[in-house]
């Protein structure tokens, strides 16, 4: 998983979006992966050997996934991407300026989203006994 996230960062860099690549490293490699690892350690302390890693209908899932990939692949190859000529690099400044001018609103809303995620996560993850006592 982490390898995959890391490779993607490389691709972003190739695509001329270094800031996205940096963010990828920071957020995915740095935060999300650690979070997930942490959760895995928390949850699988007891039963290390899982009886069935896969769902019984794994073949159905595989088929559906293959169809999805096939369809998208077909769409990719059949479309004439005439505009697709060159990689246009996007400078950090462009993104930064845009983010705080044109894209200010989505950015602000996003901050609300993060806020509620934090509030909710704290509420859920806090131990139940604390409900009544703490506040």
């Amino acid at each position: 998983m982490m390898v995959c996230f890391g490779t993607l960062a490389g691709m972003y860099a190739l695509l001329g979006a270094p800031i996205v690549a940096a963010a990828q490293v920071l957020i995915y490699l740095g935060a999300i992966s650690v979070l997930i690892l942490f959760a895995i350690m928390l949850t699988q302390a007891g039963d290390a050997n899982l009886p069935r890693p896969f769902h019984p209908q794994v073949w159905v899932a595989g088929l559906v996934a293959l169809i999805i990939v096939g369809l998208i692949g077909y769409a990719v190859t059949q479309t004439d991407w005439h505009a697709a000529v060159a990689v246009t690099a996007i400078s950090v400044e462009t993104i930064a300026t845009a983010l705080f001018t044109d894209y200010a609103l989505p950015f602000e809303i996003l901050s609300l989203l993060l806020l509620v995620a934090i509030i909710g996560a704290i509420y859920l993850a806090r131990r139940p006994e604390d409900d009544e006592g703490a506040n």
């Binding site: 998983m1 995959c4 993607l8 691709m11 972003y12 695509l15 001329g16 979006a17 800031i19 996205v20 963010a23 990828q24 957020i27 995915y28 935060a31 979070l35 997930i36 959760a39 895995i40 928390l42 949850t43 699988q44 007891g46 039963d47 899982l50 890693p53 896969f54 769902h55 209908q57 899932a61 559906v64 996934a65 293959l66 999805i68 990939v69 998208i72 990719v76 991407w81 505009a83 697709a84 000529v85 060159a86 990689v87 246009t88 996007i90 462009t94 993104i95 845009a98 983010l99 989505p106 996003l110 989203l113 993060l114 995620a117 934090i118 909710g120 996560a121 704290i122 859920l124 993850a125």
Partner: protein, 101 residues
């Protein structure tokens, strides 16, 4: 490797994510699968941006925002997993079958 190449990689990544989501029955692994799908989206966004009309950073910025959304999702998701493990002691979704008739 051109736009098509990136898009194909993104498609495969999306497919793997979807497969993982449908096939795996562990809540955390399902969450990881969703993260993979979001990454596929990001890759396609950045690729579209790079090969699209020059000068507009929409795709790249969208990708940044999606990353933040993904982080929020991961936070909430893991909090949910922790809460449910408190009451059930397992992360296997198959065993969460109380909500049936």
């Amino acid at each position: 490797m051109g736009l098509q190449g990136y898009l194909l990689v993104s498609a495969i990544l999306f497919g793997i994510g979807a497969f993982g989501f449908m096939a795996r029955r562990n809540a955390i692994l399902m969450l990881i699968s969703i993260e993979l799908m979001l990454n596929a989206v990001n890759l396609s966004l950045v690729a579209f941006n790079a090969y699209g009309p020059p000068g507009s950073p929409a795709g790249a910025i969208f990708a940044l925002l999606v990353m933040a959304v993904a982080a929020a999702e991961a936070t909430v998701g893991l909090a949910l997993v922790i809460a449910i493990i408190r009451t059930r002691k397992t992360a296997e979704v198959d065993q969460y079958a109380d909500l049936k008739e």
